[in-house]
Symmetry: C2
Subunit: 242 residues, 2 copies
Amino acid sequence: MKIDETPWTREEFTQKLRMEEKKYHIFHPFHLAMREGKLSKAQIQGWVLNRFYYQINLPCKDAAILSNCPDRMVRRKWLQRILDQDGDASSEGGIDTWVHLAKACGISEENLWSLHSVVPGVKFAVDAYVHFARTAPWYEAACSSLTELFAPKIHQQRLDTWPEHYPWVDPSGLQYFRDRIKKANRDVEQGLSITLQYFKTRQQQERAIEILNFKLNVLWSMLDAVSLAYPFKMDEHAHEQH
Amino acid sequence: MKIDETPWTREEFTQKLRMEEKKYHIFHPFHLAMREGKLSKAQIQGWVLNRFYYQINLPCKDAAILSNCPDRMVRRKWLQRILDQDGDASSEGGIDTWVHLAKACGISEENLWSLHSVVPGVKFAVDAYVHFARTAPWYEAACSSLTELFAPKIHQQRLDTWPEHYPWVDPSGLQYFRDRIKKANRDVEQGLSITLQYFKTRQQQERAIEILNFKLNVLWSMLDAVSLAYPFKMDEHAHEQH
């Protein structure tokens, strides 16, 4: 059997990348339950506490990509991600707005920063992502950021559903999601342009799909670990029968 | 024999660090000759071409430190070094001003960026520095930047002596040296403050001295390699006798 080694066109390749959306954590049972208002306060809090570990590691991940990248023009642009997440003296970063989200969910800043609630599965998944950024070629690490293709929708979904389903969350705390919609669109442009430039042969293009899947698995695993740590309660009816 | 394990006071420790200046490359024969106007055009050009490899690696070195640093407030400040060297859309960075220096010395931009003139000894030394930043604890890597304690003087010396000794260098190209005097003073403040904070015991303090020596060796080795690649000519008299 002859293997087709013809490279995909830019459009085909972009389409192939977009098709991986079906494995995005927006379809994870925990996230479906979040959207449908089925999560308890403890589950929402558990998610916010655990995802904070991801948030605080993003600047280190992006600095690793920067450190491995010999192209100064790419570095200049990529640096913006670190600024966006860490913030600076004049403007808050994503870490700050996540802290606001946590407070809006009734989590103390001390509890959040202690990382006591971060479960091993979340830690391993996030650490694997940072390790990949440190050790893989910089353009592979840049490619792994492409789950941002799918991020605007997940943030919008949270903005659309949280106020109704989780009215105990102070809505001013949702700024993180709002900020990320705009920034994800800008970031994905750079990530996609690098990917189209550096993954040219069919084999390389397939490698890009594989890398995107690695990152999809990171996000999915995090929700697996969170959902096991904060299990769904049996529904009320089942509970009554019990 | 009892080993003295009493930690140095902040003042003693700072003094011990400053005393390492005696091994700074300002005292290297190649740099002494530079100051005294004894370098040929080929030697000056060779130095500029080779030191460019150090310049373009600094952002990667600083991003590595950032990547390994879990302290967001340190990261926010350290990021400035990357900005200073890479520049951004609105302002030139140290790499740009080094490019201007090269042009002022009659080196084409193509030749400079090709890195063809970078000799192995320079490459090994710079790579060792970047590798250290990637693999050492972030505060050790930060400490290794402390040769900046001695940098303002070396830049000032170049500003003071080049126009007289090397009049063929367009003086507008010396901006890099001017810029670094101010920035080195600011940067060293952060580097010193981290070092004083993270190296507390006598053993740690001695480790800091060792790290500073490693970096002094990087700079010294670079000049060793450059001076061998662009050797001093025999003086005219010796040449006549020959």
